[in-house]
Every structure is written in C-alpha cells, then in structure tokens.
C-alpha cells in the first residue's frame, strides 16, 4: 500500500489504505495539520489544497486517486517567508478563530492564479464553497483584492 505523493515539492511515502481521503493522510499520517477538517462532505472548504494548481476538497479525494502534485497551506509560505496572499491576510487582520483560513487562502490563491484581478462577482463565485462561522468574509474580500494588487506589482 506504500505510495509516493509529491507534497509541497517533496516526495513523501505514505501507507494509509487506498480509500482514505487525502485530508486524513495529510493530517493523521504525515502530521501536516495546517489543512483542516470541517465537514467531510465537501460543504465547508476547510480542507482545500491544490492538486496541480487546482483547488480541491481533500476530504473527497481518496489517496489512491490523487492525480498530481499537491500543495498545502504549509507550501504556500511560512511565517518567515510569507507569500503575498498571506501578507495581505495578515495586513487585513482577517482571521478570528482562524480555523477556516487555511482553506480560504488556498481557495483564494487558486482564484488569483486563474483570474489575476478578480471582480466582486469572481470572488463570490470562487469563494462561496468556503464557510467561515466567524464571519470574516468582508475582510477576506478586501485581502483578496489587496493580494491581487501585490502579485501584480511583484
């Protein structure tokens, strides 16, 4: 059952059974806990990661079905080396409890990769699958626009 996954540019060998969702391989086998569990049924977005750059719900993808390179929140940037999007999130003081924010950032990062200067409608369409029970949406929206500007300038 051992299989190789490429996660944040590094190859890792994992042994979880085939049907275990990627989310739980990351969290419980690899102890990469930045990716969160919220619902398990694709309705909250807390578990969002990228596979080959596309935002996906890792709670829905069996580890055997992973089709490409994985990027998690840990691969986006680190406290000492923040990505533009994370710096924007910090400047706008987005997080409250913070639990949904890994997923929000992963979703927003893929939006910005596809649409560098998103409209409000683009933001609504891309982000509506990501629930935030603390109600940080207005600051998320502002941070996405700010991140777009930073990425353009960089």
């Amino acid at each position: 059952m051992a299989r190789a996954l490429t996660i944040n540019g590094k190859t890792q060998t994992v042994n979880s059974p085939d049907n275990v969702p990627l989310l739980w391989v990351l969290r419980d086998e690899l102890n990469m806990t930045g990716t969160k569990f919220g619902c398990g049924v694709a309705s909250c977005g807390a578990c969002t990661v990228h596979i080959d750059g596309e935002a996906v719900r890792s709670c829905q993808i069996a580890v055997a079905d992973v089709w490409g390179d994985i990027t998690t929140i840990e691969g986006v940037g680190t406290p000492d080396n923040l990505a533009h999007i994370q710096a924007a999130w910090i400047d706008h003081q987005v997080a409250q409890c913070g639990y949904c924010q890994s997923g929000q950032i992963m979703q927003a990062a893929s939006l910005l990769a596809q649409i560098p200067t998103p409209t409000d409608q683009d933001i609504d369409d891309a982000m509506l699958g990501n629930l935030c029970r603390c109600g940080t949406y207005p600051r998320i929206r502002a941070a996405i626009k700010d991140a777009a500007a930073r990425i353009q300038e960089a």
Partner: protein
C-alpha cells in the same frame, strides 16, 4: 458594608440563577487572593506575568477562541509594563483558581446594567469573587476584557514596580529615581537594565500597591494592534485542539446516543474487523472507536450496529414547542421589569406571538480533545472555555482527584459558548482510561457535533403593546423557554439549581427604553432537550422578540421606526440613543426606500453594550439579498478598534446566519440536521458589506464578543417587512421569504 453583606448572604447569582447560598462564603474568603499557581523560580512575578531568559510571557486567564483576547489581554499588560506587544508571548493558563472570572458572576448582579450606580458595581465586583469558589475560570459572557481591564494592567504595573525595586536594590538608588522603557529599567545615568536580568531578584520581592496610568497616557491601548495569533492562523502553523499530536498517539471518535439515551443493543462485530481499527469501547450511552486514523474511526463507527433507547424529552419539534407554550399557564419564573401599569395604560392594543427554533453552535472545528491516562494521572489537551470545570469532571470520570489531572487549553476553532461545556473532554478522558499510557485524540464527526450540541433554546413570546397619539404607551412581554442557566449549572456544578433566571427575558426586560408602562415576565419551560449558552444567550431570541415588536408598534403608531427607538432611548440612556443616531447618519436613513429595496433597524442592549444595526435588502432574480449592514456600538472604552470591528462584523454575520437558515428540529427524538448542507451559514456571496462605528460615550468598559449578534435578526426581519409588507414573526426567515442562498 451591611447592605453588601446582606446581599452576599442571600444569594449569588449567575444569569440571576441562585447558584449557592451566600452562607458558604464569608467576606474574608471572598476577598482572599487565591494562591499563585506558578513558581517564582521560573520567573513568575505574579500569576500572569513571567519574565525569564525566554522573554516575557503572559499566562492568559481567558482562552482564545477567535475573539482576540490573546491580543487585548497582553496589550493591557504591555501598557503598564513598558514593553512592546510583540515582545509578549501569550499562553493559555493552567486550571487554577487564580484565573477565575470575576466579571462573569459580577455581570449577573440583578440591576439592569445601564442603570447601575457605582455602589452596584462595587457589590457586583464583590459578588464576582464567588467565581473562584465555583471554579469559574470561564471564558464567556463577553467578560474577558471587562474582567481583565484592571486585573491585567495591575499585573503589568505590579511586575514593573517589582523590577524597578530589584534594580533600585542593585544600584543602591531609590526606586522612584528609575524609569522603565521598552523592556528595561533605566538607571539615572541612562544605563539599561533588561527585565530578564532583573527578574530572578524581582520575583523574591513583595508586590506593592500600584496606581494605574491615566488613559490619556496610553501608548498601546486604544489603537488597533496586529493580533498575536494572526501569522500562525494565516500560515497553517497555529495549533488547534484537533492538531495536537504526540508520539504513539491513536485517533478516535465517539458516537453517542442521538436521543440522549442508553444503547438498547450494540454489535461492533463487523466494525472491529475494519482497516485500522484497534478498539471499540462500550460507553453505555454510546461507544468509541480507536483507530490509526480519524477517518477510519469514522467509517467503523458508522458500521457498528446500534439501537438507542427512547429520548427523555418529547420526540418531535411540535410536541416540544407545545411543551414550551404550556409554560405560559404556570406562574412566572421571573418578572424582569414592571414599570407603570400595563393593564390600565391607555391606547389601542396590538398583540402578536413570536417564536424561534433551537440552534446549534456549529463551530468550524468540531468537538475534539486529546487525553492520556497513566493510572495515577490524566493529562488532557482540550480547546475549552472552562479548564477548572474540565479538570474536575475529567477527574470524576476516571476516578482520580482533580489534582491528578492536568488541563492544557488549546486554541479553539470557534466556540460561541459550546466549549463552555465539558462533555467532549470527559468523553476523551473515558476513552483514554481504556487505553492506558496511550495518548488518544478524540475527534467528533461534523454529524456527531451537529446532533450532540447543547442548543440555543427554542422560545416563544407573547407580546402585547399599546399606542396612542403616535406614542408607544405600553409594552407587555411574556417569554417562555427552557433555561440554559439551570441546565448548565447542573452540568458545571453537579447540583440542580432552581430560582429565577433573568436570561429568560434577556433582550426584553433590560432594554434602555423609556416606555411608561413596561412589564416583562419569563416562564420556565419544563423541557429536557439539552440547551446551552449560545453567543448572546437569551438576548439572541429576546432581541428578536422585543425589537421586532417595537417595529410593529412604531408602524401601528404611524411613526418612523428609527425615530421611535431614538425617542425611547433618549428618555433612558444617552449612549444608546447615540448609537441609533449614528446608524441613522451612516446609512443615510430617510425612512423611505425605493421599490425593490428594504431597510430595517435593529437595536439591542446586551452585555453592557448598546448596538444598533441598519440592514438593507434587495430583491434579485435569485432571491432577496442582504446587501449592506451599518453597525454602531458603544463598549465604553475601545481598547482595540480592529478587534471590536471584527467582533461586530462577525457577531452580525453569526446572527444573520441563524436568522436566515438556522434551525435545529427533532423527529423521533433525534436532531434532523446532520451537517452544513442542512445547517448552513451565510457565505461570501450572501453576506452583506459591513460598516462599523465604535462610540465611547458610555461609562466604563463592556464586552464586544456577543452584543453584535442580537440586533441582526430583528434588523433583517424589519428590512424584509419594509421590502415586502409581510411581517414574519418566526425564525428562520427563510421559511417565510425567498432569500438568496
């Protein structure tokens, strides 16, 4: 002293529930300082401030659940200690009496907040001391900054003076000749003595009485600070309860009776054979699966064949609501207010019945706790709002003394009152006892979390009022609901508590409106559906009943609903009138809206903070959209405007989420809702744009975590009335309007 003594002996109040006869605590005990749980040899200058080679650490008496206390509490310390906020590391305190929440019990003093006199506050403060005997080291009731406002500054100031005294001794000068700046004592010749070097000597000195700095001298407080938890939460490196890991740790889940009953039959024979499953534990009223991976545990839990006994409460929502309505036939549990005489007041009578459903907390992070049992000790890693209670109940569950239990409070992925309970930690302790010497992380599935909550109670209100010559002349409100205070006190303290519960009529009885004839009565429903504290508690429904009905009366009186509220508030409480004026100005309220647009105002005074909201809705092809919210609040003193803004915004969205979609219903004794698809919140596309104004006209300081929630539902309902001409008197509003979802 006589009058205070009398009050203290008579009763202590929590949400005006009598929690203990005052005889248990004499004055001496109430004012005695609990021991410092920290070791001075580690650099502890007091229970809160630790300075050693690792830097400056604040042992926070309150838990971070998103509300920003791990920024505001250290900011209070930093202000007096003369250090940069960024130089203070914040950690959750251990379970210890030193961290009791004085404001929580003090807030229950039975005089409507806005009418309190200074002697009332002194008495409330004194009563609040009882918290340390009741192990109420609780984060809740919007009290963290209220409780910490003086305490944290005193901790910082006392530490500063001890460091100066140590420097004075070392230099052979008077302490008064020394200054402090940026983490160091400054000698008269300008030499800097870093705090870390002075701390070992300072911890051996006695603290002196300190005088706090005048707010006009504040450098940190009053300004928005970068939150101390923001980088961690933006990089996936913040460690929540669910992220706890230890060598050899197992992953488990529980499935407890959805009817809060026992298991009638239990057959784990298939489940035990499943991948990764190591153990299945019979817990009597449910079971636990221990596995190598949380998801494998979830799968096995679903494969266990189990039948449950019947629920101890009426099996479906209709029967439960009927039980609540029955309470109106009993004598009132509490009379919150009785001004003038509603019976003889003149005017045309208007009556209406309102109702709200049960609600789940639905924190983003489901319930979770890790535990390790070693026979004579239990260690618990739990995201929680009450570590002393967790310690006591976990000890009880595994047959240890509380002293043998160590509680580590973890970062919470939301709480909203849910993590003030102890069930999630007790279950983890019970699982750990069956797995000696093995750390076990117990994580609930979302479905388990949704269906095993302590719900915001369903409630019914019978409202009646009179209007005459454009004036509201009388308001008579009757509210019936089960009591979270009664239930939670039994769960926290192991004793059934009776007596009047002022929370029944919160948001109704305590509003700062000068209505000449104003009566409220609360009726206690005899219903055992598990209910608990949900962000803003009684005001979460009382605000809807009261403010929605005020809107009806205003219309019946032929008046602009905002002007009526303003007029009533002006007679009673100027800061409340000011927040109403503020939202009027922010929103450009004219009382007129174009076709296709509706506007409503909501106002609730709760937890000492008046909040007014104007909400604008718009008809679209996809349904009615909530476009905009303007919010004005007055917490008296704004310690951190950015955090207050966030709490007002979040509180409003939390209230709107419940008002649009939120309901927990029951069939056959089980909750019908399972997960976010059937218990959803607002999202990016249907949450409003929000503007917040923070005023500081009120005296003192009050909380901001909860007061943003109560006015949201009535403001939305009133806006929908303005848009459609139809008034809905029940929540969620999605039942009666086609809202954008």
């Amino acid at each position: 002293m006589a009058s205070i003594g009398k009050i203290a002996r008579r009763t202590f109040l929590f949400g005006a529930v009598a929690v203990a006869g005052g005889a248990a605590f004499g004055f001496y005990k109430l004012t005695q300082t609990p021991p410092n749980p920290l070791n001075p040899d580690d650099g502890a200058l007091n229970p809160f401030v630790v300075i050693n080679a690792d830097g400056i650490t604040l042992i926070a008496p309150r838990a971070e659940m998103g509300q920003g206390v791990h920024t505001t509490l250290p900011a209070l310390v930093a202000e007096e200690l003369d250090v940069a906020l960024a130089d203070i590391k914040v950690i959750h305190g251990p379970a210890a009496k030193a961290y009791f929440n004085q404001a929580l019990l003090g807030a229950a003093f039975p005089v409507t907040d806005y009418k309190r006199k200074p002697w009332h506050d002194d008495t409330a403060h004194f009563l609040g001391n009882a918290a340390k005997f009741l192990d109420l080291q609780v984060t809740g009731g919007s009290t963290s900054t209220r409780d910490g406002f003086v305490k944290m500054r005193e901790a910082g100031a006392a530490a500063r003076e001890m460091l100066k005294d140590a420097a004075a001794e070392q230099l052979g000068v008077k302490s008064a000749e020394l200054a402090t700046e940026n983490g160091a004592v400054i000698a008269p010749d300008g030499t800097r003595l870093p705090y870390a070097d002075l701390a070992p000597a300072a911890t051996k000195l006695k603290p002196r009485n300190v005088t706090l700095r005048d707010p006009s001298e504040w450098k940190t407080l009053g300004k928005s600070q970068p939150r101390t938890d923001m980088v961690g939460k933006s990089t996936g490196t913040a460690t929540f309860g669910i992220d706890f890991r230890a060598p050899g740790m197992k992953f488990a889940t529980v499935k407890m009776s959805p009817k809060r009953s026992s298991m009638r039959s239990f057959d784990p024979s298939d489940a035990i054979l499943m991948d990764g499953v190591e153990k299945i534990i019979d817990l009597g009223d449910g079971f636990a699966v221990v596995a190598t991976n949380t998801w494998l545990a979830f799968q096995a839990a679903d494969a266990v064949r189990v039948e449950w006994d019947d629920a101890p409460y009426p099996a479906d929502t209709d029967a439960q609501m009927a039980k609540i309505a029955e309470a109106f036939d009993t004598s009132p549990n509490s009379t919150g207010r009785n001004d003038g005489d509603v019976e003889t007041a003149s005017g045309d009578t208007i009556s209406a019945e309102y109702s709200v459903p049960f609600l789940a907390h639905a924190t983003m992070e489901p319930m979770t706790t890790a535990a390790k049992f070693t026979g004579d000790a239990l260690e618990v890693w739990s995201p929680n709002q009450g570590p002393m209670l967790i310690r006591n109940w976990c000890a009880d569950a595994v047959g240890l003394d509380p002293e043998q239990v160590t509680v580590h409070t973890m970062l919470m992925g939301g709480a909203f009152g849910r993590r003030g309970e102890v069930d999630f930690a007790v279950l983890a302790a019970r699982v750990a006892r069956e797995m000696p010497d093995t750390p076990v992380l117990v994580t609930w599935s979302r479905e388990e979390d949704m269906r095993h909550d302590f719900y915001r109670p369903a409630a019914i209100a019978r409202m009646s009022g009179k209007v005459q010559d454009g004036q509201i002349t009388a308001l008579d409100a009757q509210v019936a609901a089960p009591s979270p205070s009664h239930q939670a006190m039994a769960r926290w303290l192991g004793r059934e508590m009776g007596g009047p519960d002022a929370e029944l009529t919160a948001g109704v009885a305590d509003q700062p409106y000068g209505i000449p004839n104003y009566r409220t009565r609360g009726y206690l429903a005899d219903l055992d559906v598990p209910v608990g504290f949900w962000r803003s508690v009684g005001a979460s429904y009382g605000g809807f009943f009261f403010d929605g009905f005020i809107d009806e009366l205003a219309h019946a009186a032929g008046r602009d609903p905002l002007e009526v509220r303003l007029e009533l508030a002006r007679r009673e409480h100027a800061p409340s009138a000011s927040v109403i004026e503020k939202v009027r100005d922010m929103s450009g309220w004219t009382g007129q809206t174009p076709a296709g647009i509706g506007r409503g105002i909501g106002f609730t005074y709760s937890f000492g903070t008046p909040v007014a909201q104007v909400i604008e809705v718009r008809d679209t092809d996809a349904g009615i959209k909530i476009d905009k919210a303007w919010i004005a609040c007055d917490p008296g003193t704004a310690l951190d405007p950015s955090i207050i803004h966030a709490q007002m915004m979040g509180g409003c969205i939390f209230g709107l989420s419940a008002a649009t979609n939120g309901q927990i219903t029951f069939t056959d004794g089980e909750v019908d809702q399972w997960n976010f698809p059937d218990y959803d919140g607002l999202r990016m596309h249907n949450a409003p744009e929000i503007e917040v104004a923070i005023l500081e006209n009120a005296d003192g300081i009050s909380g901001v975590g909860e007061p943003g929630t109560p006015p949201a539902a009535p403001a939305l309902a009133n806006a929908l009335f303005d848009l459609t001409g139809q008034r809905a008197r029940r929540l969620p509003l999605g039942l009666d309007y086609s809202l954008l979802i």
